[in-house]
């Protein structure tokens, strides 16, 4: 019997070798922390605690370079700084290790100072939002690839919808009254603008198939010529619904970055301030 591939690794881990390196990192951190407990107190300001904090800060700075690389593609390519894929993998796993080191630095306790409390909370937020984004990036593309006939560029969605709306209106104006009324009642508003729907997260095609059924009864009543026009309207409506699915899901793929990036920048500034205060005082 053929060996079954481990589905977790296949579905959720882009690069198993980076995942293994991450596990080794976690194991090393755990070993260090156990040694710390055995040999000394767990405090942020002793040698152990400062080492965790320093490592976390250094790692955080390196992890943040990924954002810089994305915004200076030309320089990164010219300097041959390597492919973007390993950069992202490092960003992901080193970011997660960063949180672990931060927690070790705080002794897994909620800090009492205002600045340190914010640092603690923001570290968790940034890592959690990053993890959330990584999961979305693994999950949504598989939904998008699974049942939609068209591939749509997110930036072109408004133009495409305007085009579909105009085409449908022009066509409907040439139709007999029942089709024109049907268009006004059921389609005109739906074709007006992109409409995000939650159902697309669950089943990218289910909602579309259901909505197409409304055409069936009317179709039976029409002459061949009118039926042909209705079919064309139906095709336009179906394309619009597919675009809606793209709009909903691609917006999420982009939107999560707003949860992650601005907070990361605030965190970086606060970490810098934290280091400054420690060195100064």
């Amino acid at each position: 019997m053929a060996k079954k591939k481990p589905s977790f690794l296949k579905n959720w881990v882009e690069s198993p070798s980076w995942f293994r390196a991450f596990l080794i990192g976690v194991a090393l951190c755990a070993a260090a922390f156990l040694a710390n407990i055995a040999l000394s107190e767990v405090r942020p300001y002793n040698a152990w605690g400062l080492t965790y904090g320093t490592l976390a800060a250094v790692l955080m700075a390196i992890v943040a370079l990924y954002g810089l690389r994305r915004r200076t593609t030309n320089v990164a390519l010219k300097l041959r700084l390597g492919r973007a894929q390993p950069w992202l993998q490092f960003h992901l796993y080193a970011g997660a290790l960063c949180l672990l080191l931060t927690l070790m630095h705080s002794g897994f306790h909620v800090p009492k100072g205002i600045l340190t409390w914010w640092l603690w909370v923001l570290s968790i937020w940034v890592t959690a939002s990053g993890l959330f984004g990584a999961l979305l990036q693994r999950w949504i593309p598989t939904i998008l690839a699974s049942g939609l006939g068209n591939e749509v560029l997110y930036e072109r969605i408004p133009d495409l919808i305007t085009e579909i709306k105009d085409k449908a209106k022009t066509l409907a104006e040439t139709c007999a009254d029942p089709v024109w009324d049907f268009y006004k009642k059921n389609l005109a508003r739906a074709l007006e603008a992109p409409q995000p729907r939650l159902i697309y997260y669950v089943d990218v095609t289910g909602g579309i198939q259901g909505r197409m059924k409304q055409f069936d009864y009317l179709r039976r009543l029409l002459s061949p010529e009118e039926r042909d026009k209705l079919n064309k309207l139906e095709a336009l409506y179906k394309t619009k619904l597919e675009i809606d699915a793209h709009f909903t899901l691609q917006r999420t793929l982009r939107g999560w970055l707003y949860l992650h990036v601005p907070v990361s920048l605030v965190l970086l500034v606060l970490v810098a301030f934290h280091i400054f205060t420690i060195l100064y005082y």
Partner: protein, 557 residues
């Protein structure tokens, strides 16, 4: 608000145009060695002075003249190097041209016009390209750029028309051609790399013909076609037949016999070679291009297989007496060159060489199995049909995106735009096949039809390599390449300039300048294709063969 178009600096434009026009007729970018070059366009009467063009009428010559030039080369100039892709053929008017080859073992690596396994490393800094000279050739082997090296696994394939002049001893003395002879035409017509290095033994005057004109000349004149075939038979056919896996055990006399008697068949795109049920009279061997094999199924035709360079067709029909007619309709997908071995010759071959008979039986059984399976499982046939229709068999480097992992971040497009002055060279749109998006990025075709009809030669193969590029400075924005490209991979941009008043052709004067733009695989940069490099999820992939494409699909099964 958009900036109004600015008039161009007249002198600068004209200077650049002349400089670039000169480069167009040389395969090497630096120090081409051209002493003198004919005017922009030779008149029909000027062309008719050369023996080569005597068979053609003035109207025809007017049509091909943008693709013909006459150049004087200094002694020692290199016309092309071993491994170079060239869309030029040369007719010697005066002087002598000599040819060299490196060791045979090295030569066998030349035929594959795809890049090395990583594909993205195609431009990792130019590797030194040492020239084989008559003296050095015996001891020094020509170092080839990495992108031309054929993967180990493919070495058993023989690419017939990749070898241009093969009767030279490996690494030995040069071979010379004199006035009245033509060379480079096999590489130009087939779109495969040259197998020899050509150098001016004396000061030379050459008529240089670009591939589109050469193809038209061959189609227009039977005499010219016969002349090319004669040259091919004389210089290359025997060794090529001998290098074909099927015929490698044949003795010299039989090969010579075959060389004299086989028929060379040239097909235009969509030309039918054999009809299903028609009488079987020969075995066909593909020299270049592709053949599509289809069979009747219910009311339509189903594609059951395709044949590429080095493959044979007809063995099953000729070996099995029970098969009365062709089992498939074979038609050319593009310009295709075939070798036709008649039934008599085939019978002699299999009777004299039992090993060949066994090999042909193997091929016949494999073909029957394949066609049977493709008839039974229509999705397999659909894949072949799609691959032929969408040109997947054509591409040397097709950009596909795995939609199951692509996060639509557009970093691929951003990388491309950043590398090319802000204008991306492809759109993340195109046909979908299962989970793969075949983008509208240049395929860098084996037979680039976009080259046909370019009035200035701005679109060309870039030096040594399979990359098809557009030279901005000589592109006049006529859109011929964009119209010819079957895959919509060339787009026209307005660049905010107006053509100067001394512009040639006159029709462009004062008009807004358009520029054709397409993927150049970032070959001028020190990194590989930016799209692949910059994809954070590794879902932008360059594909160079149908097998690789199938491999990607199989990953998701």
């Amino acid at each position: 608000m958009a900036k109004p178009p600015q008039p161009l600096d007249v002198g600068r434009t004209e200077f650049r145009r002349v400089e670039m026009y000169k480069d167009r007729w040389a395969s090497r970018d630096n120090d081409s060695g051209i002493l003198a070059l004919s005017d922009d366009k030779l008149s029909p009467s000027q062309l008719q002075r050369y023996d080569l063009f005597k068979d053609y009428d003035e109207e025809f010559l007017e049509r091909i003249s943008p693709d013909v030039s006459v150049a004087k080369w200094r002694k020692g100039s290199i016309f092309f190097e071993e491994g170079a892709y060239l869309d030029l053929a040369f007719f010697i008017v005066q002087g002598e041209v000599e040819f060299f080859v490196s060791a045979l073992s090295e030569r066998s690596r030349l035929s594959m016009p795809i890049f090395d396994d990583s594909r993205t490393r195609i431009s990792e800094g130019p590797e030194p390209f040492r020239l084989a000279t008559p003296v050095a050739a015996a001891s020094e082997r020509v170092v080839l750029p990495s992108q031309l090296r054929k993967p180990e696994s493919s070495r058993s394939i023989t690419f017939l028309s990749s070898i241009d002049i093969v009767s030279l001893p490996a690494g030995g003395e040069g071979f010379k051609l004199r006035p009245g002879e033509i060379f480079g035409e096999i590489g130009a017509m087939s779109g495969w790399p040259q197998s020899v290095t050509a150098r001016a033994a004396t000061e030379c005057e050459l008529v240089q013909i670009r591939m589109p004109a050469l193809r038209l000349m061959k189609n227009e004149s039977k005499a010219f076609k016969e002349r090319l075939d004669r040259v091919y038979r004389k210089r290359a056919l025997a060794v090529q037949l001998k290098n074909t896996p099927l015929l490698q055990d044949c003795d010299e006399s039989f090969i010579q016999e075959l060389t004299r008697e086989v028929e060379l068949v040239s097909c235009k795109p969509d030309e039918i070679v054999t009809r299903e049920g028609g009488p079987v009279d020969a075995l066909y061997l593909v020299r270049s291009g592709f053949l599509k094999l289809s069979q009747r199924l219910e009311e339509g035709q189903i594609v059951v297989s395709y044949l590429s360079k080095g493959m044979t067709f007809g063995e099953a029909e000729l070996l099995l007496d029970e098969i009365r007619g062709w089992t498939c309709t074979a038609s050319s997908v593009e310009y295709t060159e075939l070798i036709r071995i008649s039934r008599d010759k085939f019978n002699k071959l299999v009777n004299n060489y039992p090993a060949i008979k066994r090999q042909l039986w193997g091929a016949a059984v494999a073909r029957i199995k394949e066609t049977g399976a493709n008839r039974k499982y229509v999705n397999r046939s659909e894949f072949i049909q799609t691959a032929l229709e969408k040109g997947l068999v054509q591409g040397n480097s097709i950009l596909v995106i795995d939609l199951e992992t692509c996060t639509r971040c557009d970093d691929c497009v951003r990388g491309c735009a950043d590398t090319h002055g802000g204008l991306p060279r492809f759109v993340r749109e195109g046909d979908k096949y299962e989970n793969l998006l075949i983008t509208k990025a240049c395929y860098h075709c084996r037979d680039p039809v976009c080259l046909v009809g370019c009035p200035t030669g701005a679109i060309h193969r870039a030096g040594v390599g399979a990359v098809v590029e557009i030279e901005d400075n000589i592109c006049i924005g006529c859109q011929a390449c964009a119209r010819n490209c079957p895959y919509d991979a060339i787009v026209m941009h307005e660049i905010g300039e107006i053509w100067p008043e001394d512009m040639i052709p006159e029709g462009l004067r004062g008009k807004v300048r358009l520029l054709a733009s397409k993927c150049d695989l970032c070959y001028k940069t020190n990194h590989g294709p930016a799209c692949v490099n910059n994809c954070p999820h590794g879902c932008a992939i360059r594909v160079g063969s149908l097998e690789e494409f199938q491999g990607l699909l199989a990953k998701h099964e």
